[in-house]
């Protein structure tokens, strides 16, 4: 579509004028850089235990700006490495859920009829089982691993995207340019891929960004329950859990990983809000 380019640049222009959204974008970008360059940023090891007992539960100091945990490990170092789990798991999971949701949504929306009805009832049913319960059930059935947690987070979060994409496709199908393409004899897969998906892309990107925050929260909750990505890899939720017995004596062990989660999720949510305000097609019509 010829309107595509101007839609993107107009959206970007709006986005740049929103200081909150720009700050969020910078924050999220910085988080990724921290995760990538973790070994460069900190001299300590996130996993191996400190040798000396007196290193345990050290309050924040020059050497350990966020203190140490019960094994004498540097909390800041573990936070930096922990960002790798949160960011990788959430990114992969959101990709899975968006791809799955887009496929189901576009098949349902484009095919219509009985296929649509069956798929949408499935979506309804899956949405009736609260996500955490569904995930916990699967975790009990399979053996816990990084891959399982990631796939589960993705596989239990696609239903919203499916509904969204289906709705978009249904409203776009009725518009003239699709009928025009159909009249030219294009195959239906071609229609979906070349003409419909690009149109729903902005909607998908916005919803994915808003979804990442929730995925990070669910992943952290699983880790906190001891059912997330297995140790020794440090994850933020698990770090909060480790500090819960020493809240009064070593408050820093739980407090900082929690703050890291808050900052990350706020960053993604503000970014998503900013993207929606800038790119939501509803605003131009």
């Amino acid at each position: 579509m010829s309107g595509g380019r101007s839609l993107w640049s107009a959206g970007w222009a709006r986005f740049r004028k929103n200081p909150l959204a720009m700050a969020a974008a910078v924050t999220v970008l910085a988080l990724y850089l921290v995760a990538i360059f973790a070994p460069v940023l900190t001299p300590y090891d996130p996993v191996s235990h400190g040798d000396l007992p007196e290193m345990r539960h050290q309050p924040p100091s020059r050497e350990h700006p966020l203190g140490t945990d019960k094994f004498g490990r540097d909390v800041l170092t573990r936070l930096i490495y922990g960002s790798r789990i949160s960011l990788t798991v959430s990114f992969l999971a959101v990709t899975i859920s968006v791809v799955l949701g887009s496929i189901v949504g576009s098949v349902a929306g484009y095919t219509g009829g009985i296929v649509d009805a069956v798929l949408m009832r499935m979506v309804d049913a899956l949405m009736s089982i609260p996500r955490l319960f569904l995930m916990l059930t699967c975790i009990a059935l399979f053996s816990r691993s990084f891959l399982l947690v990631t796939i589960l987070l993705g596989a239990t979060g696609w239903m919203g995207t499916a509904r969204l994409v289906r709705g978009q496709i249904l409203s776009l199908r009725g518009r003239e340019f699709v009928s025009a393409v159909e009249a030219l004899g294009a195959g239906s897969r071609r229609i979906v891929l070349r003409h419909l998906i690009p149109n729903v892309l902005t909607v998908i990107i916005v919803s994915a960004t808003l979804k990442i925050g929730l995925i990070i929260l669910v992943e952290a909750a699983l880790s906190f329950l001891g059912l997330g990505v297995p140790p020794p890899t440090p994850s933020w939720g698990q770090m909060v859990y480790e500090g819960r017995e020493v809240l009064l004596d070593a408050w820093w062990v739980s407090t900082f990983p929690g703050l890291a989660i808050v900052v990350t999720v706020v960053g993604y949510n503000l970014l998503g809000d900013g993207l929606r305000d800038s790119f939501d097609p509803v605003q131009f019509t």
């Binding site: 319960f133 569904l134 916990l136 059935l141 952290a220 329950l225 909060v240 739980s254």
Partner: protein, 327 residues
Amino acid sequence: MARYFAGRLGQSILLVWLVLTITFFLLHLAPGDPMARYDDPEMDPETVEMMRRQFGLDRSVPEQYARWISNFARGDFGISLRYNRPVSELLAGAVPNTLRLTVAALAVYMILGVALGVTSAAKKNSLFDRVGTLAALVVYSIPSFWLALMLIMLFSLKLGWLPSSHMQSIDALSLGALELFRNRAAHLILPAFVLGVASAAGMARYMRGSMLDELRRDYVRTARAKGLSEGTVLMKHAFRNAAIPIVTIVGLSIPFLLGGSVVTEKIFSWPGMGSLMVESIFTRDYPVILAINFIVSVMVILGNLLADLGYALLDPRIAFSGEEGER
């Protein structure tokens, strides 16, 4: 109206059946016999054999499926592997506790959310509105388990104002009725707040938008043109319209509240379904896990059904059969 009623009821029953089917296939699509994964060396082979029979794993898959559906429909969820008691008995103890917590959280979330949202809308673009909107987004992004720990640290450990766990004190049964009520209420405050506050942020956001939409409508101008005070225009005319969809929102928030109850119950040692679920995951107590899944799904489906009916009752534009429409 009656037809709509019946249609929605049928839809809900279909959903319950689909949920059961999905859970059944989850159990059977997982690699191997569910019991094969239950490799606890302390378990004697006899018990494992008994469980095989209980799950009907010695029968054909269609037969198993039929038994599974009919058992669940009758409320027979089998025997807990860990407690060696009927699952329904365990649930009878846990479900009311979870309900008490979620209903309290619902109250927190509706009162806080509606009050903040309406105030924000009434003072649109004021400092209160700007700070409130941002604060709602931050609250929405706080992991509940961390918030719980921070509140426990402040209110229980530092200030000693509120208890940090359980539903009541150990000596609660020796208390008088009023004291017992106060004791239980004190135990409820932190968990209900933790469970409800994230949804309250969402509700505030919704309510603000919805009030602003209503305030733009023509009937608000008519209300003002009558000489009504701004308070009446806001709280009577705009609010009544903005409030009707709240029922739907509450219905849709049930899965979030139930999901959140898992973590909240765990942290506050609240003896509900969430705690039972986590415990059963670690001990792989499949009958309990599956029964809880079923119960929470039924609660969600029922909640949505009631929300839809409530909406139909509250909105006069949805006509009841027997009443005339436009002539």
